[in-house]
């Protein structure tokens, strides 16, 4: 039997491809400029645990998006019915439900009509007694949540990109999480990244009615006991952070005709005293809305509300259309970051940090070194072991093992699979198990020789009879690796991917590569004794 030329070429092409894919990993920045134009210039991607960096899992409060939706319906109904001189007695949001209470049956009927005209596509509307309930439809609920997470991802992407970091990666993780990875980020970057990501950056403009140092005293002036009661007067209580003792609380209009969504730009500026501040400008419609708001309220104070707190409340001197600024007690850095988050837009719903992992660059370096060392030592021991037990055939198995490792690393590089520390462990383990296929085959060949077969016949029989054993054994292992890949996250996924690729490449190396090399050695030769 001859070594098939087709297989020899296939193996050589694989080896060459793998080597080409790996050159950037080894050479790093030393590659000449033309390399990237002809060959891939990215090598094996190292995980955060190996190169250091930040890994953040952000939970998105999609329930809040549902709340916003129901609040929107509530506001719309209140406004719409107000124009028909109908007052709503009260409203309540519970889970996915909004209930409106009416004073009379007549009001309820009119309310039902308005509701059905506007919301029957997204909510099931039911009446009972003197109340009207809206239950959001399942498909619409999903929609809201998907939209919320997409928006959050977009906003975070804008923000992180503007920080000018190298290779940040932002992905959706499940239905309500976002995974952010910033490799190589320093300790100093870390705090800033987290602050910038968590910042809601909801900017609103309201008109100030009153201020005070104590909220109870302030509310008593308006004859109410709780902030909720202010709602019926079209007002609300907002905490203030303007640095003045008697301005701890504000009463301001509850509607905000202009919000941060209308901003066209925000940037760091310095006010007349040289203090850092944030300057902003509006785009088209926002500018005219802002013009109308300021024109109507000349002489009043304009509350600039950021994330629910009044940051500054300048008195409106004249109609302003396009420019404004937020002053406060900022450092330059803070003002710069605030401008950044305003530019990138508000988070539609709040987020929480659910998992954080920061790996310092020195740990990463240590891990690579110890990983490589254990791989080298393990590899050399296995190679010696195989030659000791199988002589020339051991050398063949070792060659197949070396090619196997080359293929696996080439694969990792080709598919952009991130190599993590558990991944390196997976590689070391693969090395231990990779020779198993060859051991099975070689033991089989020995058995066949003992039965008195000629060397070539024994090789043929050994490979043929072991094929399914090797396949069965590896397919079962592959099943567990794939399940691990499916369910795993982060470093575990990397481990599973490495092991899966390892198994496939190992079967190829055991069954094809070792066979082809063996055939090349014994091709057309009358060998009296096999070196095994």
């Amino acid at each position: 039997m001859r070594a098939s030329r087709g297989w020899i070429i296939t193996i050589l092409v694989f080896a060459l491809l793998s080597a080409l894919l790996l050159i950037p990993t080894v050479a790093g920045d030393a590659l000449p400029g033309w390399w990237g134009k002809v060959f891939p210039d990215r090598g094996i991607r190292l995980g955060l645990d190996l190169r250091g960096g930040i890994f953040l899992l952000i939970g998105v409060d999609t329930e809040k998006a549902v709340d916003h939706e129901l609040n929107g319906i509530d506001d719309f109904m209140t406004q719409e019915l107000k124009s028909e001189k109908i007052l709503i007695k009260g409203s309540e949001i519970k889970g996915d439900n909004l209930t409106l209470q009416f004073f009379t049956k007549e009001d309820l009927d009119k309310g039902l009509k308005v509701a059905e005209e506007n919301f029957s596509d997204r909510a099931d509307i039911n009446e009972s007694d003197l109340s009207l309930s809206f239950a959001l439809k399942g498909s619409y609920l999903d929609d809201i949540q998907v939209r919320a997470i997409d928006q959050v991802k977009q906003v975070i992407e804008n923000r992180v990109q503007e920080l000018g970091l190298v290779e940040p990666s932002i992905q959706k993780a499940g239905a309500d999480r976002i995974l952010i990875q910033v490799p190589g980020a320093s300790e100093k970057d870390r705090q800033r990244i987290i602050d910038i990501i968590k910042r809601s950056a909801v900017l609103e403009f309201k008109i100030v009615r009153d201020t005070g140092a104590d909220q109870d005293v302030l509310m008593a002036k308006y004859g109410v006991k709780s902030p909720d009661e202010l709602k019926s007067q079209g007002l609300m209580l907002v905490p203030g952070d303007t640095g003045t003792e008697n301005e701890k609380f504000f009463i301001a209009t509850s509607d905000s005709p202009v919000t941060g969504e209308s901003l066209s730009d925000a940037r760091l500026i310095f006010d007349e005293y040289g203090r850092p501040a944030v300057g902003f400008s509006f785009k088209g419609e926002g500018a005219s809305k802002f013009g109308a708001l300021t024109e109507k309220n000349i002489g009043q104070r304009l509350a600039i509300v950021l994330d629910g707190t009044i940051k500054s409340a300048p008195t409106i001197q004249e109609r302003i259309t396009s420019q404004g600024r937020i002053t406060g007690t900022f450092t330059t850095e803070e003002a710069k970051d605030l401008a950044l988050v305003l530019r990138s837009g508000a988070l539609p719903v709040p987020v929480t940090v659910e998992q954080e992992r920061t790996v310092g660059p020195s740990l990463g370096k240590d891990s690579i070194e110890s990983g490589m060392l254990s791989m080298a030592v393990g590899g050399v021991l296995v190679i010696i072991f195989m030659i000791f037990f199988y002589r020339l055939q051991g050398v063949v198995a070792d060659l197949a093992l070396a090619l196997n490792m080359l293929f696996i690393l080439g694969f990792l590089s080709a598919f952009g699979i991130t190599l993590t520390l558990p991944g390196i462990a997976g590689l070391v383990l693969t090395m231990g198990m990779a020779v198993d296929g060859n051991i099975i085959i070689l033991e089989r060949i020995k058995e066949e020789l003992r039965l008195g077969k000629s060397p070539v016949a024994a090789i043929d029989a050994g490979y043929a009879r072991s094929l399914w054993t090797v396949l069965d054994a590896n397919i079962t292992t592959l099943i567990t690796a794939l399940i691990l890949f499916w369910f795993g996250t982060g470093p575990i996924k990397g481990f599973a991917a490495t092991v899966s690729i390892g198994i496939i490449s190992t079967v190829f190396s055991n069954v094809i590569v070792a066979r082809v090399i063996t055939n090349l050695i014994y091709q057309d030769r009358k060998v009296p004794v096999l070196s095994i």
Binding site: S370, I483, I492
Partner: protein, 305 residues
């Protein structure tokens, strides 16, 4: 070179009774240890909480780190030395109910202050900070259990399709056996049950089945040959015929695992430990437990060969 002399005939089937007894004892110890320790010692990945890995210039000792942090107003749940003695690396752990995300942020600033201001801690650095919210942890436990169960089901189906039910049963019982005993070893040595340990357990499952299948494959082949041998004799022959392979492969895997265990660094240490136990138990169960189950089941069903 032959490891096992051709014609070697060890009566494995005859020793299966004693082997199974040993397995039962090991399983009871494992379960006993898990009950005594009130379940696995879940790592922060599962319970939620924080872990900070630091490296100090001096060998300060866990007690001093603990008391310094107590005084600073951040009592840790545990301070543990990791890696080798000269590394001076420590893991400081806070439980979930103690630490919110913002707290760990301010703790880190405090720790940096301590490490630059205190003579004993001077020159230290923070290597790694891990924070895991409690919600993520609960989901991870669920996922881990599902992936192990699914792994078993996948193997059960594949082996059933390729062999017959008795073999699938033997393979799955053997892998459950290996998983439980490895878990027991982790519990007895009071090691932390982390996400990497889950990866190790799944790898052990894969290895255990791999090892078992090779013996099964030979049993099936010998069954097809016919002849007058009883099923017990077939099993015995098959185990003997594959014995060199079993020992050689286990040895190569064992060699690289030892390399990982001693040289792989602090993060990989426990992973390598779990795998070493798993490979030893897995090899044992492939030879004794899996085949014993097949023999038992086939006798129960009245099958001869």
């Amino acid at each position: 070179m032959d490891l096992i002399k051709p014609g070697t005939h060890i009566d494995f089937v005859g020793k299966m009774g004693k082997a199974v007894l040993l397995s039962i004892v090991l399983i009871l110890i494992s379960i006993g240890s898990l009950i005594y320790h009130k379940g696995p010692n879940w790592g922060v990945e599962f319970t939620g909480g924080s872990e900070i890995q630091i490296k100090l210039a001096k060998d300060v000792g866990t007690e001093q780190i603990k008391s310094t942090l107590d005084k600073a107003g951040y009592p840790p749940q545990e301070v543990q030395r990791i890696g080798l003695q000269g590394d001076n690396e420590y893991l400081i752990r806070f439980s979930a109910d103690l630490v919110k995300f913002d707290q760990i942020q301010s703790f880190q600033k405090k720790l940096e202050g301590i490490m630059s201001g205190n003579d004993d801690f001077k020159g230290g650095s923070i290597l790694r900070v891990d924070y895991i919210g409690p919600k993520v942890g609960a989901e991870l436990i669920e996922k881990a259990i599902i992936s192990i169960l699914l792994g078993c089901v996948g193997i059960l189906i594949y082996v059933m399709l390729r062999f017959e039910f008795a073999f699938a049963l033997g393979a799955v019982i053997a892998l459950v056996h290996d998983t439980v005993i490895t878990l027991g070893a982790i519990s007895v040595t009071d090691k932390e049950f982390t996400l990497t340990i889950i990866a190790a357990l799944l790898t052990i499952i894969g290895y255990s089945v791999n090892d078992t299948i090779i013996i099964f494959d030979r049993i099936r082949e010998n069954m097809k040959k016919g002849g007058r041998a009883t099923f017990d004799e077939i099993v015995n022959d098959s185990v003997n015929q594959t014995l060199s392979r079993t020992i050689l492969t286990s040895s190569t895997v064992f060699i690289v695992l030892l390399a990982l265990f001693f040289l792989g660094g602090s993060v990989i240490h426990d992973f390598a430990f779990a795998l070493i136990v798993g490979v030893l138990v897995g090899t044992f169960s492939s030879v004794f437990v899996a085949s014993a189950i097949v023999i038992f089941w086939r006798k129960k069903k009245g099958m001869t060969v």
